[in-house]
């Protein structure tokens, strides 16, 4: 996958994949073109799939340090404090 596709958003990639399927179903492309389209389509599928099944996301909580800086901690949901 090239760098350009790395910046591609999921919706754009999905749209491109839809366009490719539509073109392939149109039967208008030459054999060479259709092979190229198919290869590109498979790449887009892998790209989208990868975006959906990335590693588990983390939950962080920012805490005020005494000297006005923030520290980042894993959020455990057990923090002390007033509850609203």
């Amino acid at each position: 996958m090239d760098m350009e596709e790395k910046k591609l958003s999921y919706e754009d990639a999905f749209k491109q994949l839809e366009d490719i399927v539509e073109k392939l179903e149109g039967d208008k492309s030459s054999l060479n073109e259709s092979v190229e389209l198919f290869k590109k389509g498979v790449e887009l599928y892998k790209y989208c799939n990868n975006l959906l099944s990335n590693a588990e996301g983390e939950v962080k909580v920012l805490l005020d340090n005494s000297n006005d800086s923030l520290i980042e901690l894993d959020f455990l949901g057990e923090a002390e404090g007033d509850s609203f």
Binding site: Y10, F14, L24, E25, C48, L52, S53, G57, G81, D82
Partner: protein, 412 residues
């Protein structure tokens, strides 16, 4: 003395210390149903905010006054600044400050004298910002379809933050969540929320912000009607979803945010798509891709087969063979048609012969006729060419006669 005591109904006891008396009075106050939980209406006077955060003031009406204290923990929840002369309803209990021997009102909660004033402030701010055009849809930023890191500004405890985390994790597990804990109630909340929003907005990794809290009274939610907070939200570069209270609660923050979610849970639902739904769509599109490519190949294959068929049909050898067959057929036709021709001719020949037979002069001789010829052998057909004494040949059935002409009679 004893008699006197009995008459007046008073128990005579030994002298008490001052502190014992005050302690005794305190106990009596706290056991009183009314004094231990009471609402007092009055006007603030002599207001002092101590460095510790405790508030000291008096409540008074036209005739009377009571000293009041509100400790820091409770004072944090006050919606708006208290001011001298302000009419409020205070909720708390009456007790003794033993050191000074003073009774005072210990305030737990302050209700601004009528929600009406809060509502008026809310309405005024809403109209003001609306007139500035800050709620217009053209200012609403588009939310990212797949946010990678969602900043959440809310209380770190309570149900809201857990709802948000749970729902985001369920719908789109790979999304990161960064929680910036903040007060979400009381006077100081707007300042904290603004600080949190600005921090998250400047963090490049954060591509969506959720700000909000769970349900509460109008006073509880009132910090989300702060003008500074509204302007801060308006100026954010990062798209923001507001999620304040319940579905029926509307705050200024809701109007100015890019999207208003009715509850914190709903905000999480709106923030991320359901990964299973996306996966399903993606996989079905992938299936279409494979299928259409296969169809495409099959179509090519069919075209090739058709061309192959045409090629076969146009094979020169096959053509030669066909031509040979055509030729054979032609020959056969020719032969048969020639045969027919001969037959026809033969038939007409026979009939001609029959006719000829009928015309045979010899046949006349059989019947006793004779044929007359002159000396040159020409057949005599008329008397004109004859003279007397001409010699005439007569041919009859079985011989020839030479006769001399003796008389000529011409018929008219």
């Amino acid at each position: 003395m004893i008699k006197e005591v009995i008459i007046k109904g008073v128990i005579k006891i030994k002298p008490l210390k001052v502190s014992e008396l005050n302690n005794y009075i305190k106990k009596i106050f706290s056991s009183d149903m009314i004094l231990s939980n009471i609402q007092i209406e009055g006007e603030i006077s002599n207001f002092k905010k101590h460095i510790s955060g405790h508030l000291y003031f008096s409540l008074k009406d036209n005739n009377s006054l009571i000293k009041c204290v509100m400790f820091r923990g409770d004072a944090l929840n006050i919606v708006s600044n208290l001011a001298e002369g302000q009419k409020i309803i205070a909720e708390g209990y009456v007790s003794i400050y033993e050191r000074n021997g003073e009774y005072q009102l210990y305030i737990k909660k302050i209700k601004d004298n009528g929600v009406g004033e809060l509502y008026e402030a809310y309405e005024n701010l809403k109209i003001k910002l609306e007139n500035e055009g800050l709620f217009e849809s053209r200012f609403k930023k588009e939310l990212p379809f797949l946010p990678s890191n969602i900043g959440v500004v809310t209380s770190p405890t309570g149900a809201a933050v857990h709802d948000i985390i749970n729902i985001i994790n369920r719908r789109f597990p790979s999304c990161k969540i960064t929680i910036y804990p903040s007060l979400v109630q009381g006077m100081n909340a707007p300042k904290e929320i603004i600080k949190a929003l600005k921090f998250l907005d400047n963090n490049e990794a954060i591509d969506l912000i959720i700000v909000g809290r769970g349900g509460g009274s109008m006073e509880d939610l009132f910090c989300f009607n702060d003008e500074d907070l509204a302007r801060c939200i308006f100026n954010l570069k990062t798209p923001i979803i507001s999620a304040v209270g319940h579905e029926t609660d509307f705050t200024i923050a809701d109007f100015i945010s890019d999207l208003r979610a009715p509850t914190p849970s709903a905000a999480a639902e709106l923030a991320v798509p359901d990964v299973e739904h996306l996966s399903h769509n993606l996989n079905s599109l992938y299936y279409d891709l494979k299928n259409s490519f296969k169809k495409h190949l099959r179509y090519r294959e069919n075209s090739i087969n058709i061309i192959k068929g045409e090629l076969k049909y146009n094979n020169p050898y096959l053509k030669l063979r066909n031509n040979r067959q055509d030729l054979d057929m032609l020959l056969k036709d020719f032969v048969s048609s020639t045969d027919n021709n001969i037959n026809e001719k033969f038939k007409s020949l026979v009939s001609l012969e029959n006719k000829l037979q009928l015309l045979n002069p010899l046949l006349a001789l059989e019947n006793g006729y004779g044929i007359l010829t002159n000396k040159d052998g020409d057949i005599i057909r008329s008397v004109e060419s004859l003279k007397l004494n001409d010699i005439i040949n007569i041919k009859i059935k079985n011989g020839e006669l030479k006769v001399i002409l003796k008389e000529i009679k011409k018929e008219s």
